[in-house]
Symmetry: C2
Subunit: 122 residues, 2 copies
């Protein structure tokens, strides 16, 4: 797969044509709780994961470690119901607003950013 | 530069030791408005950019297109004052809560995600 083509996906060609992918064909996808604004996690999507996210109502990512698709919550029950999806100005980042059931993080915290604050030296 | 070492940076070694970088030595950094929760943009940081972000109070990114550091707002005046910085559970994503002056996007919109909503088919 190159950064410019993903022929096996059913993603709308008009979206695929402007999506800018990394060398692995992936785009970072930020999941944000739609009502509270919490940034829950960052996952990765290829064209097919984005297509499934847009058409099934459930957030679907590509697992870089397992090299497979995963529907958030299929194992844990902590699903992400899709409320809206947007590309950024460069079409190289996706923002998905979701309704997160339970904790987003596999460690059990609400978001993946709750446990490791870095000290500021100002 | 490998994914595991960045010897030229002044970043705290305790942080550098657990940071997980991509093949280019970079980590995606989400900038979020600290009070409203708006996701403003996604940039990229290497160890040195993270160090500068933690120590100067101003968000600093690595530009993949220009291959240089950029302090957000140095050209536009639309600075990001750093309020807090956190790593995610895998230490491969950074969340920076900021106070954004003016629009975050170079197109003039408040966030980089305001102009390109994708249609849901459910």
């Amino acid at each position: 797969m190159t950064g410019n083509a993903c022929p096996s996906s059913a993603l709308d060609p008009a979206i695929a044509a402007r999506l800018k992918r990394d060398a692995d064909g992936l785009v970072p996808a930020i999941a944000q709780q739609y009502d509270t604004g919490e940034v829950l996690m960052l996952g990765w999507m290829d064209d097919e994961a984005l297509h499934r996210t847009l058409t099934t109502g459930r957030c679907t990512y590509w697992s870089r470690s397992r090299q497979e698709y995963w529907v958030k919550g299929d194992t844990s029950g902590h699903v992400q119901q899709v409320k809206s999806v947007a590309l950024d100005c460069d079409a190289d980042t996706i923002l998905v607003k979701v309704d997160q059931t339970g904790p987003a993080c596999h460690t059990g915290t609400r978001t993946c950013f709750d446990a490791d604050s870095l000290p500021l030296a100002q």
